[in-house]
């Protein structure tokens, strides 16, 4: 199973790359063009999701997670091997960030490992947590590219590195025969079924994701879960309680390295895009107000209420998983979880410890 691809464009400089060969091999019958630009109609937003463009990278591939100083961030490093996503979530920030109207695969992605080595050399003895899910879903193109399968063993050769692959898909098959040695975390973005159905177009239902997580766990991977974005809708309390129940129907306490909670938030410019592309969506109708970083987010007491409630549900089932808030201030941490890591560095230390805890 994979998302449908209707066109492949390969940049002349990427023509001989192994990823280009793999993609072409895995898409028999799909037209392949060699060109310096992908031929898609930039106005046709839907079409871009079935066009792959394989190209050499522009700029660095390994970056800091773009958190803002106003809120506590997880201190993650992001590897941008792919940009764009075949799924179509209403709230997806990529609608705003990406100017390449298709799925872009960076052919020379292995250069990122050199950047990783430089980083490790600069901070000897430190854990480096990295992930590929910032400008893409980490596994959505895996059935086409095998990139995660190629990446995992290479990362494992570097004892300081911990890799998190974040996805909404069930595409874990290519990874199941690799021994992750406790240093690869397969993570799922999870949500209430109502949100999955209404606002995560193309993504599998929650239970399918959790079945894939259980499979990953059986293969030795540690699991991360991200309740992000938490969305308010009539009955959200019970729906999120049910989602937490579903998690522990599939996974046991101790299987989960961390669970993050993040509420719906997006830059104001995305509001118009959501209203235009998803005219029936209720997301923009929430009580969203500008936060300290200028992004729209639920009015603070409403966010705190959601965090408290979901945290309570999680703690009833699991006393061990590291639960953290994504992009929140120490004040919100304290009033929601009763504690605060104080800063990005503090949270990064907690997550580093959780990453190597098994």
């Amino acid at each position: 199973m994979r998302f449908p691809i209707r066109k492949i464009t390969i940049h002349p400089e990427a023509a001989g790359s192994s990823v280009a060969r793999t993609v072409v091999e895995k898409c028999p019958g799909v037209p392949v063009v060699t060109a310096a630009r992908p031929s898609v109609d930039p106005g046709d937003e839907g079409h871009s999701k079935d066009t792959v463009f394989i190209t050499p990278r522009k700029g660095r591939l390994l970056k800091r997670c773009p958190g803002t100083s106003s809120y506590v961030c997880c201190g993650y490093r992001v590897l941008n091997l792919v940009t764009g996503c075949p799924l179509d979530c209403t709230y997806c920030i990529l609608q705003l960030y990406l100017n390449q109207p298709c799925l872009v695969v960076h052919a020379d992605w292995e250069d990122a490992l050199r950047e990783l080595d430089e980083l490790i050399a600069k901070h000897p003895g430190r854990v480096v947590r990295l992930g590929t899910g910032e400008l893409a879903d980490s596994l959505a193109l895996e059935p086409l590219t095998d990139m995660a399968r190629e990446l995992v063993p290479r990362v494992l050769r570097r004892p300081e590195a911990v890799l998190e692959l974040k996805t909404k898909t069930t595409f874990v098959e290519s990874l199941l025969d690799i021994d992750p040695r406790g240093r690869v975390i397969l993570s799922w973005s999870v949500n209430a079924e109502e949100v999955v159905r209404a606002d995560e177009k193309g993504a599998p239902p929650l239970t399918a994701r959790l079945r894939a997580a259980a499979e990953g766990r059986r293969a030795g991977y540690r699991i991360g879960l991200h309740f992000d974005p938490l969305v308010r809708f009539p009955g959200w309390e019970r729906s999120y309680s049910r989602a937490v129940e579903a998690i522990y129907d599939h996974l046991r306490e101790g299987d989960i390295a961390w669970i993050s909670l993040g509420s719906l938030r997006y830059p104001p410019a995305l509001d118009a895009i959501i209203r235009r592309r998803f005219p029936g969506s209720h997301l923009p109708l929430g009580e969203l107000v500008p936060g300290l970083d200028g992004k729209l987010r639920y009015f603070r007491p409403l966010r705190e209420e959601m965090y408290r409630r979901v945290y309570r549900d999680i703690r009833r089932r699991d006393r061990h998983a590291e639960v953290y808030l994504c992009m929140e201030s120490p004040e919100v941490w304290r009033s929601s979880l009763g504690r605060s890591p104080g800063s990005t560095a503090g949270l990064a230390r907690c997550l580093d410890a959780a990453a190597i805890a098994e």
Binding site: R276, L285, E287, L292, F299, P301, L302
Partner: protein, 320 residues
């Protein structure tokens, strides 16, 4: 084409196939025709003895105002000019002298569509000339604006409502549109505020599954109970309904402030959306003595329960 005197009673006033002029007072034009006469004869299309205006709709209206019975005009037969040529004559003449207002732009767009031009051709070839901003779904939105009743198009032409508001009004059903329009006229909101109004009304009615007339009726009732200008009060009521928790928190904050009875010259503010549990206290003092006294007051203030509550925006402050 021939020149002839045509009775004004034979002009098909309602037929706006080619003319789109709207807005701007007719007074100046009427006065000038009265003084110096009609310098540039209008152009009409003879359709079986009825005359459709090609160019000069405003001049014809001015003549009618002056009580004239006839007009000296250039007359085209149906076999002399195609509908598109007729439209182009009027359009390019207008464009040579001025920019179209949004009501005219939308009407001209509708005329092009009626003439059979494809939406793609209109968007790529005419949008900038029509003075319409490019936007997603713009073609359909502007087309629906062109079908708004004349009264609304006149307001759009005169800048009393914005193109965005007109687009919003065009999305409503007949009765919703009428009530929205009545409300807008009564509220006489500035152009900038209409945008906010339209967004608030649209969001609340969808979120609460309320019809626009029902929502506006209840907002009107609430606004009338408040002091001040109706439009400003109504907008405030809408904001509070759209952001009820924030509004409740702001009211509570004000209540606490009142309870604190701040000394004269003291001002306490916080983050406008209570995102930070931070208070900003400002006071003024002239001279060392006054400054010292203010600090003592500030210290006393800091010990009050109400003051502590102001710093914890997540907590529900107690009602007295």
């Amino acid at each position: 084409m021939k020149r002839a005197a045509v009775p004004l009673s034979r002009v098909a006033w309602r037929n706006r196939r080619f003319s789109f002029s709207r807005g701007g007072g007719l007074e100046e034009l009427t006065a000038s025709i009265e003084k110096v006469g009609l310098l540039d004869p209008p152009e009409l299309l003879n359709k079986g003895g009825r005359y459709i205006v090609i160019r000069g709709a405003r001049r014809l209206q001015a003549l009618r105002r002056l009580g004239r019975k006839h007009v000296e005009a250039q007359i085209f037969g149906e076999d002399e000019i195609s509908p598109f040529q007729a439209w182009s004559r009027n359009f390019h003449e207008n464009r040579a002298f001025r920019n179209l207002n949004p009501a005219e732009g939308c009407t001209a767009l509708r005329q092009l569509a009626d003439l059979g031009l494809s939406p793609q051709k209109i968007v790529s070839g005419y949008f900038p000339l029509l003075g319409l901003p490019r936007r997603e779904g713009g073609f359909e939105a502007y087309l629906s604006v062109a079908h708004l009743p004349d009264t609304m198009l006149d307001l759009l032409a005169d800048g009393a409502i914005t193109l965005g508001t007109a687009v919003y009004l065009a999305t409503l059903g007949e009765s919703e549109r009428r009530s929205a329009f009545r409300f807008l006229k009564k509220a006489s909101l500035s152009v900038g505020r209409q945008r906010e109004w339209a967004r608030l009304v649209a969001d609340i009615s969808v979120r609460d599954e309320t019809s626009v007339p029902a929502l506006l009726a209840s907002v009107s009732r609430a606004a009338r109970r408040r002091h001040g200008q109706f439009g400003a009060s109504a907008l405030q009521v809408l904001r509070e309904r759209r952001f009820p928790s924030l509004a409740a928190r702001r009211r509570a904050f004000q209540r606490l402030l009142r309870r604190l009875r701040l000394p004269p010259g003291f001002q306490v503010t916080t983050h406008p959306f209570f995102e930070k549990g931070e208070l900003h206290v400002r006071f003024s003092a002239s001279g060392e003595k006054e400054y010292g006294e203010a600090l003592v007051r500030l210290e006393r203030l800091g010990r009050e329960d109400s003051f502590q509550l102001l710093m914890e925006p997540g907590k529900r402050p107690p009602r007295k």
